[in-house]
Subunit: 408 residues, 2 copies
Amino acid sequence: MKLQINVDRLRTNLEDLGRIGRDPNDGITRPSFSRADFEARVWLKNKIQDAGLAYRLDGAGNIFGRKDGSGRTVMVGSHIDTVINAGMFDGSVGVLAGLECLRTIEESGVKISRPLELAAFTDEEGNLVGDFLGSRAFIGCLDKELLEKGRTQIGRPLKEILKGTDFTIDGILEAHTTAPDLDAYLELHIEQGPVLDTEDIPVGIVTSIAGKHYRWCSFSGTAGHAGTTPLELRRDAFLGLADFALKSTQHVATHHYGSMVTVGKVQVLPGAFSIVPGQADFSYEFRSHAKETLEALERELFSLADDIAATRGLSFASKIIDLTEPVSIPPRIMDILKIECERLGYPYLPLPSGAGHDAQILAAKADVGMIFIPSPDGVSHSPQETIRWEDLEKGANLLLHALVILAE
Amino acid sequence: MKLQINVDRLRTNLEDLGRIGRDPNDGITRPSFSRADFEARVWLKNKIQDAGLAYRLDGAGNIFGRKDGSGRTVMVGSHIDTVINAGMFDGSVGVLAGLECLRTIEESGVKISRPLELAAFTDEEGNLVGDFLGSRAFIGCLDKELLEKGRTQIGRPLKEILKGTDFTIDGILEAHTTAPDLDAYLELHIEQGPVLDTEDIPVGIVTSIAGKHYRWCSFSGTAGHAGTTPLELRRDAFLGLADFALKSTQHVATHHYGSMVTVGKVQVLPGAFSIVPGQADFSYEFRSHAKETLEALERELFSLADDIAATRGLSFASKIIDLTEPVSIPPRIMDILKIECERLGYPYLPLPSGAGHDAQILAAKADVGMIFIPSPDGVSHSPQETIRWEDLEKGANLLLHALVILAE
């Protein structure tokens, strides 16, 4: 029997879901617990029930569709929330390809023994409190204080956003108590980078997911009149940041090839034409696929910041905003994905994921695996984000066959 | 006869004026054409009339107090407007020391022949449209379009700020038609830098005033996912700015010692933790005391910016916000100030002014001179700005004696 997903049905579903949360800037704005998100939740619930799966919602708003069986659960999923002004594929392809796989298995009558469960995790994008709210709630690693006091990207406190919904902070914190015992978790996702597209390869098998380290940092010096403070007497906080940004990039490129470091957000104070900056605040993140490298980066980069501060008569301070651990995909999962991909005759590339994913969080409780499909031009988090349907078909077929093996 | 200003009277005046425009942050906020400024204008008008001087107001709101005579006018002045949350000395010491000099001359009966005129110029601080609105109006070098379309620091268009006052844009543009023919202009000011205080010298005789070049600049690259865009493929606009800020500072320090370069205001776009910056906008100013150096800096620094953009795969653009010419104090004025200072027995230091002043603008129409008094710890534009009364007494006495020589 040739098992095969129906790509037209999958495409129709993606396009239907992609109409929910359309924003005035030609993109999709569907953060978790927004009005658009609740509309998408109703849509997904109907799809799950239409597919003959048992619908379940946990205290964190994670949505499940279960096909029962015996033993530990094999899960497939991703997320349906989006960043502000997003495209329609990030997250949604994983959830709807998972749904399509479960439907195909159900319709084909192929024999499987383990329970199979579809998951759509709440707020993977971190519009509320940090990234991965839903999957972190699912494995039970959230901090109550963070949920109560952490600032949401949306601007209002989480408690206020939850008001008028069926969700509560206590409910989110207890979500993990209703989680099934997991054997494996698979996630299909767009690559969000240029590698597969550049290499013209339809399927990526993720080898590892980078861990990341987010800090909010600050160099402080002394503000001064830009006309009367001689260059050699300045304690210019912005030059400290400039020096640090260049030297850390150089350091990572030279000594930790493949790791990333980014200064993404910058605030210079007081911030006027003719005043030497007294303070430079900035976001600082670095990522690596190895725990030891991430630890080395933390030591080396912040020691570099301290050295630059000392040399320039500045002070340096930082606070941790978020941390995730790097994850290596277990050989068992890698083998299944590679063998099935070869059997299906699809060209594939093993590649690391620089972006974080729910799979990374679930790795604490299950063997996880990820399949990437190409992001044309590497574009994501943008209305210009796109995919090729023939790539999705291959990725979803690989997902289907891997699920059948895992659940058999 | 020993000619001598009355420092107690001058101090009382400074303290009285310093009570107008007190803000909640323990400073003075008295931008031109604000309610506090109009209160200060009434106060100054009364003081001018009390001193027996002829009060006059021009179309730009510049305030004058004239003691008539024959021939070209000798002017003394500064400004009474302030930055937001200022101290009470920047500008005010020059106007009130000038007033004190004219009063002393009037009371002493010392014979002078030329007209002597006190001036308080509108908006030296550039809260409205660019720096030196009043003195630029006085010499007739303002651009109508700039006044009509330029953005004010205060946020509202100039036209709206003028509404409900007796001033109009046309009136500002015509102010120069009522200006007297000037022979010389003297200005006493706080140094706004640390030199005199560090050297413990009560009086500075300004040798030159730096010209400055203000631009709003931008490096543009490509925004990208901070986890999936390899360092070597990035076109990170912020790293372009960082490189430019460091290299231009190094270039100026090495090749143009004494000139200044400052990045004071920075906006990074899109400005998020996990997005490689696609654009970095920033203010860029450089100053020099020589016209040729300023021209060389313009060539060299923007060629450096272009090189950095080319190397990093970025584009660089900039637009001019403001330019002032450097001014050398004419030998005639330098000689008078030095000789009088020596006669008075005051230690003095000839020094350049890195900050801009109304004297710089008036240099297009008159021989100008400037006297500095120390700024303890170099502090200005801050509620912590201060002076020593004994320094002010010396500075004002020097001003008095120089005015007598110039007007005799």
